[in-house]
């Protein structure tokens, strides 16, 4: 049988378009599936948040106005109808964290620790650490802030959550005319609180050791409540001039923007796939047109349209495979890059879904080609 020649330029444009379209589509489906699965597995309908007193001119001069007394804590938490609550204890000594980096030297910064009862944490502290090592839970935002902002501006490498967890750094604690040296290790990343958390008992011991005379009332209370209580809680807090941390609304804004962006990108990828599908079909049609005499000769000889169809379908099938398989490989590479900078618990399942759907769309495109080819050939022999 004759070999069908599709012009190289058409082939290149179709393949490149297909690669872009299918890669973007696979990644979009993957991100959607990740988001959906995360949401699906987080349906306990409760909310964790942090409350604190609103700042005022007076509180700037008199810091005690910002703190909660024991009685206040009791009153407020009773009023709010909470599932659980706990006050943030804070470190009352100086903390300096430092780390030696190759080619960068020593980087040191002042830190500030807080603690909460364990039952309010989303990440447990490890129990098997060495005695002189303090586990620290850091906000997930900090990692993102570093990876997406600081590291880029300073030309530093991006780090994955897994790498960060292996990092051991020095902690120098000063107070009460003492200098204690500890090692610090990241225990995990919290999405609930925007502070550095260490175990409650550790903080209590260190405060006792390094600032025994300094007693402070808490400035923040962690609250755990049912989502259907939310509006009532907001009203009560407002009346009492207490603020609730608004980081969730910022994330919800980001989430909405991200979703709109993702939908737009997905639609664009569909458009690209449709165009490259049309190009494959157009290539197929021009091949049929070009081999018109050959087709007629074969038909007159006794070849039936199905046999001819197989011959014409081969190049477009190869082209479809050449598009879909590399696109899946590109998506996997992108996924691995993404996982290096983001801690996503849904790593494989969404990608499997995305792969299956992409192969499904590729198959649909191929079936459409068969249908179109069948139509074109039958039209000639009716």
């Amino acid at each position: 049988m004759a070999k069908l020649k599709i012009p190289s330029f058409n082939k290149i444009v179709t393949t490149l378009g297909g690669w872009v379209g299918f890669t973007v589509l696979t990644v979009s489906i993957w991100v959607f599936a990740s988001a959906y699965l995360s949401e699906y597995n987080n349906q306990d309908n409760t909310q964790h948040n942090t409350i604190f007193k609103k700042s005022s001119l007076f509180s700037t001069f008199k810091q005690d106005l910002n703190t909660f007394s024991e009685t206040e804590v009791k009153q407020i938490t009773n009023e709010l109808n909470l599932i659980n609550h706990g006050v943030f204890n804070s470190s009352t000594f100086r903390v300096v964290g430092s780390v030696e980096l190759p080619r960068m030297g020593k980087i040191a910064t002042d830190l500030f620790f807080e603690s909460l009862p364990n039952e309010l944490l989303d990440i447990p502290f490890p129990k098997d650490l060495a005695e002189n090592t303090i586990p620290i839970i850091i906000p997930k935002n900090y990692l993102n802030l570093y990876n997406l902002g600081f590291s880029r501006s300073q030309g530093l490498p991006q780090v994955s959550p897994a790498i960060i967890k292996t990092l051991v750094f020095n902690l120098d604690l000063y107070g009460n005319n003492k200098h204690l040296q500890y090692k610090g290790k990241i225990a995990g990343f919290t999405t609930r609180y925007n502070t550095l958390l260490i175990p409650e008992k550790t903080l209590e011991i260190l405060n006792q050791e390094l600032s025994p005379t300094k007693k402070t009332n808490p400035v923040k209370i962690a609250i755990h409540y049912s989502q259907n209580q939310e509006s009532a809680i907001y009203k009560t807090l407002d009346k009492r001039n207490i603020e609730i941390e608004e980081n969730n609304s910022y994330f919800s804004y980001l989430q909405k923007t991200g979703t709109i962006l993702l939908i737009s990108i997905s639609l664009l990828s569909f458009l690209i796939i449709t165009l490259s599908g049309l190009l494959i079909i157009s290539n197929m049609n021009s091949a049929i047109e070009k081999e018109s005499t050959y087709i007629s000769r074969c038909y007159e000889m006794g070849y039936h349209p199905k046999q001819l169809m197989r011959q014409f379908l081969r190049p477009s099938t190869i082209e479809t495979i050449t598009i879909v398989i590399p696109a899946l490989v590109f998506s996997e590479i992108l996924r691995l890059q993404f996982l290096r900078i983001m801690d996503n618990p849904w790593t494989f399942q969404p990608f499997a879904i995305a792969t299956i759907l992409t192969i499904g769309i590729g198959t649909l495109l191929w079936l459409f080609q068969i249908r179109k080819l069948k139509y074109e050939l039958n039209k000639r022999f009716q």
Partner: protein, 214 residues
């Protein structure tokens, strides 16, 4: 596998056969359609082969009305029952002689390479097998078309002016090969020829309606 034709007419050629009683063509017999140019000989051959389907009248093959046959059924008939040599040869010009033959033979694997070479030598084209068809003369192309028609099982061999470009010697050789193969298959031959040829005098004539001008 007899062929029955009656009252065959087409919009663009007029009436080809004006016979209320069906014309019955039997297997094992050889027929010749002799009538002047433009009276529809090729059209009738094409009609029997299933390429002309917009006709009036009745055409049955093996007692089956051919109008109801599907494209696939016609393809099946063209690979096992009906073989043809077209007047215009209808070869693939940019392919070699052997590629043309193999393309046909692929459908049924009816003959092997030795047989192809044997038929080619019978037709004096054994040296042309690897040449492109476009490089051959009309006479050589005609013999390639004849060879191709033998590369399938058949019950009817339809020959549309098959010797128009052949000299007497090559015509004799081709006719001998075709009639021998038809006899071996128990097949019939339908040939159209404008020239009354003495070599075809034992063929049964089919008279077309000559009132048409084509």
């Amino acid at each position: 596998m007899e062929i029955q034709l009656s009252n065959i007419s087409l919009a663009y050629t007029g009436t080809l056969l004006d016979n209320p009683t069906p014309l019955i063509l039997n297997l094992g017999k050889n027929y010749i359609i002799t009538s002047p140019s433009g009276t529809g000989k090729s059209t009738l051959i094409h009609l029997i082969y299933g390429l002309v389907r917009d006709y009036e009248g009745d055409y049955t093959l093996n007692n089956k009305e051919t109008r109801t046959l599907t494209i696939e059924e016609w393809s099946q008939l063209r690979t096992s029952v009906l073989s043809i040599v077209f007047q215009g040869f209808r070869l693939i010009m940019e392919s070699t002689v052997l590629e043309n033959i193999v393309l046909k033979n692929k459908l049924t694997s009816h003959v092997n390479l030795d047989e192809i070479e044997f038929y080619a030598s019978q037709l004096n084209i054994e040296t042309l097998l690897n040449k492109k068809v476009s490089e051959l003369s009309f006479g050589q192309q005609q013999r390639v078309a004849i060879l191709r028609s033998l590369c399938q099982p058949f019950k009817w061999l339809l020959l549309d002016e098959p010797f128009a470009h052949l000299d007497r010697e090559n015509m004799q050789k081709a006719l001998t090969l075709l009639t021998e193969k038809a006899q071996q298959n128990g097949a019939g031959i339908i040939i159209s020829d404008t020239k009354t040829n003495l070599m075809l005098s034992n063929f049964i004539p089919i008279q077309l309606n000559t009132l048409n001008n084509g």
